[in-house]
Amino acid sequence: MNRPAAISGTTTFWQRHQRQAAPWLFLAPGAFMFLVYVILPIFQSMWISLYEWDGIGEKTFIGIANYVELFDDDAFYTSLKNNVIWLVLYMLAVPAGLFVALFLNQTVFGIRLIKSLFFFPFVLSQVVVGLVFAWFYDPSFGLLAQVFEAFGLKPIAVLADEDYVTYGIIVAGLWPQIAYCMILYLTGLNNISPEQIEAGRLDGAKGIRMLWHVVLPQLRPATFIAVVVTVIGALRSFDLVSIMTDGGPYGSSRVLAYYMYEQALSEYGFRMGYGAAIAVVLFAIMMVYITVFLVRMFSEERGAR
C-alpha cells in the first residue's frame, strides 16, 4: 500500500485523494447490502401496495383501492386496536424493569448470578417463551388453571377468550421485555454519580422523592432507550401472536404485524398488495417513533461537535 511516493517526489492521484475516497470505499459493501435489502424494499412495498397481486400472476394496478378497503376492514381495526393495547401495556415493562433493577441494585452475596438469572428470559427465543406461556394458560392442566381451581374458581381459557387473549399474550411478552429494561436500568444505576446522591441526602431527600428528583433525571438515557426498544418490541409483536394463537380465537388477537403476514403469505392469504398496504400503515406508525429517535440523536450529535 505504501507507494514509493517519496522516491518520485510527486504524489500519485490515489495518495492525494485517498482520504476523500476512503470513506466511500469503506461504506460501499455495507451500504450496498443495506440499500438493497432494507431501504429499497420499503419503497417497493409502498409501490406494491398500489397493486393487486397474488404473488404468482400478473400485478394489476388498482391505485389506493387497497387502502380504501383497509379502512372498511373490521379485522384491520381489531389489529389496530390490539396494537394500541400492546403499545400501552408493553410500556409497563419500563417501570417494572426499573422496579426490578432497584430491587436488585445491592451488593449482597451472589447478586451477580441473581442478576443474570433475572435477565435470563431475554436470551430465550420468543418461540420458547410463547410455547411455555401457551402451556401455562392451558384451560385443563395449565398452571393458571390449577391455581384457579385451588381457589375454587372456574379456570379461564385465556387464549381462547376474545376478552383476555391479547392481555395473555402481552404478559408473555412482558416477561423478557422487563428483563431487558431491568438490565438497561441496572447499567444506568451503576453510573449514577454518588455525589449527587449524597447531595440529595443532605437535602433530606429519601425514597420516592430521591428517586424522582435525583435518580430518574440521571437515568434519562436509560429510560429513553428502554422506551424506544419497548415501542419497537410492541409493534413487532409478531412472534408471540403467531406461536400462541395464530391471531385467534376468530381473529381477536391479531396485531398489524401478524395480519399483514396472514394476508400476504399464509395458507389463506397471498394478497401481496393488501398485505403491503397494511405494512405501510404499520411503517407510518413506526415512523413517528423513528423520527423522535432521530431528532434526539441529531441534537446530541450537534452537541457533540
Partner: protein, 414 residues
C-alpha cells in the same frame, strides 16, 4: 417486474454465495413434488413410485418430499420458478387459482384415453373446471360422526337418524354430565365440517355449492336457517367447553376418556382414537343425520390429487404416471397404506370397519363436497371459519357474523 430490476445486481452476489441452483431435469427424468411428509402418505407414494419405475425402467424418477404445511406455500413458488413434472395437490376450488393462473396442464386427454371418466366417476366433478380435467385423484376419505357405542348403550341411546333424535341424544348425554360433541376449533377448520354438514342437510348440495362458489349472500334466509338450527346445539352448551383453546387432537382425549360422546371428524381421526385406547366395539361411526326430510344426502370427502404443472419439462412421462396412479390396483395398494378410500371404483373394497362403512356411504352419496376450506376461495374460507368459530363461542353474535361474512363475500367474489 420490479423484482427483476432490483435482482440484477445481487444476482452476481448470489452466484458467488449460493451453492449453485438445482440442475434442471433432463429428458427421461420425472420430477415429482409431494407434500407427503407424514409416514403413511410417504409410504403410499413410495409404493406407487416403485411400481411405476418397475414398469418404466427407462424413466428416472426424482422425488422431492416437502413438509406438509410448508408445501402450501412452496407450491406457489415452484410452479412458476422450477416446475416439477408432477405436483401433488387437492381437488375442488383449491386447485382453481393454479388452473386460472395457467399453471396446471389440462389433462382431459389422460381421462379420455384411460377411461377415467368411468372409473373415477365419483371424483370427476371435483376435478373439472371449465369442462376440462386438471389432474387425477388418488384418494379420499369420509367425514361423519364418530360416537362412543359403549356410552350410547349405557344410556340407552339409539344411533340418531334425524335432527330431533340427534338433539334428544345430546340432551340425554348432557343430563348425564357428558359433553355431547367433542371439537377443537383452535385451527379453525374443524368448524368448517360442522358448517358443511349443517348446510348440506338443511339446504342441500346445490345450495351449498352455490354458497361456497360465492353466488349466494351469507345473509340469505336459507343461511340464517342453518345457523338457527346450529344454535340449537350451541346454545344449550352441547359442544366441548373452551373448544377454541384446543387443536382437534387435543380434543380427542375428552372423547377417549368418555367425557364427550360424539366427534364429527374425518376418518383420519380413527388412528388417534384407537391409539388413545378405544376398541372397535367402543367406537362407532354414523352418517350425519337428516335435517330437512327427504333431502338427498351429500357428504364431505376431501380428495387428494396429482397434477402436471404447465411449466413441466417432461409432460409425456408425467401423463404416464397420472394414468398409472389412476389404475384400480394401484389405488388399492396406495389406499391400503394410507388407510383411506380409493377413488377408482374398480379398486378393492377396504376391510377396515370404518373405511368399509365410509366406502358404502360415499358410494351411495348424492354428491361429494370437498370441505369448506377447499370449496370456498381461500380468503372466504378463512373469514368464514373464523365466523363459525366465533358463532360456536358466542352464538348471540350470529347476525353480526353473517353481515361480516357477506361483506367479505361481496368483495372476494366481485
Amino acid at each position: 417486474m420490479f423484482s427483476r430490476k432490483s435482482a440484477g445486481q445481487p444476482a452476481m452476489l448470489a452466484a458467488v454465495l449460493s451453492l449453485g441452483l438445482a440442475a434442471s431435469a433432463h429428458a427421461g427424468t420425472l420430477v415429482i413434488n409431494t407434500d407427503t411428509s407424514d409416514p403413511a402418505p410417504k409410504a403410499a407414494f413410495e409404493a406407487a413410485i416403485e411400481g411405476f419405475k418397475a414398469e418404466n425402467p427407462d424413466v428416472e424418477v426424482k422425488w422431492n418430499i416437502f413438509d406438509h404445511e410448508g408445501y402450501k406455500t412452496s407450491i406457489r413458488n415452484f410452479l412458476t420458478a422450477e416446475a416439477p413434472d408432477i405436483a401433488a395437490w387437492y381437488a375442488g376450488n383449491r386447485m382453481a387459482p393454479f388452473v386460472n393462473a395457467g399453471l396446471f396442464e389440462d389433462v382431459s386427454d389422460v381421462w379420455e384415453g384411460n377411461g377415467l371418466n368411468e372409473s373415477l366417476a365419483s371424483a370427476a366433478s371435483s376435478m373439472t373446471i371449465d369442462g376440462k380435467k386438471w389432474g387425477v385423484p388418488y384418494t379420499y376419505y369420509q367425514w361423519g360422526i364418530y360416537y362412543r357405542q359403549d356410552i350410547f348403550d349405557d344410556l340407552g341411546i339409539e344411533v340418531p337418524k334425524t335432527w330431533d333424535e340427534l338433539k334428544a341424544a345430546a340432551a340425554k348425554l348432557k343430563e348425564n354430565g357428558i359433553t355431547p360433541f367433542a371439537i377443537g376449533s383452535k385451527a379453525l377448520w374443524p368448524t368448517g365440517g360442522w358448517f358443511d354438514y349443517m348446510n348440506l342437510r338443511v339446504n342441500g348440495y346445490e345450495f351449498h355449492m352455490d354458497l361456497t362458489a360465492g353466488k349466494v349472500p351469507y345473509t340469505d334466509p336459507k343461511v340464517v336457517e342453518v345457523f338457527d338450527k346450529w344454535s340449537e346445539l350451541v346454545e344449550p352448551g352441547y359442544f366441548l367447553e373452551n373448544h377454541a383453546a384446543y387443536d382437534w387432537q387435543e380434543a380427542v382425549p375428552f372423547f377417549v376418556n368418555g367425557e364427550a360422546a360424539m366427534y364429527l371428524m374425518g376418518n383420519f381421526a380413527v388412528d388417534l382414537f384407537k391409539s388413545g385406547g378405544l376398541t372397535e366395539d367402543q367406537l362407532g361411526f354414523m352418517q350425519f343425520p337428516e335435517i330437512t326430510p327427504g333431502l338427498p344426502k351429500a357428504e364431505d370427502a376431501p380428495t387428494d390429487t396429482i397434477h402436471i404443472p404447465a411449466n413441466a419439462s417432461n409432460k409425456e412421462d408425467a401423463k404416464k404416471f397420472l394414468a398409472y396412479v389412476a389404475r384400480a390396483e394401484v389405488q388399492t395398494q396406495m389406499n391400503e397404506i394410507l388407510g383411506q378410500l380409493p377413488t377408482n371404483k374398480g379398486s378393492k373394497r377396504p376391510e377396515d370397519k370404518y373405511l368399509s362403512q365410509g366406502f358404502e356411504m360415499l358410494s351411495e352419496a348424492y354428491a361429494l363436497a370437498q370441505f369448506y376450506d377447499r370449496d370456498a376461495r381461500a380468503e372466504m374460507a378463512k373469514a368464514g371459519m373464523e365466523g363459525f368459530q366465533e358463532f360456536m363461542v358466542k352464538p348471540g353474535n350470529q347476525d353480526r357474523i353473517l353481515e361480516r361474512l357477506e361483506k367479505i363475500r361481496s368483495r372476494v367474489y366481485k
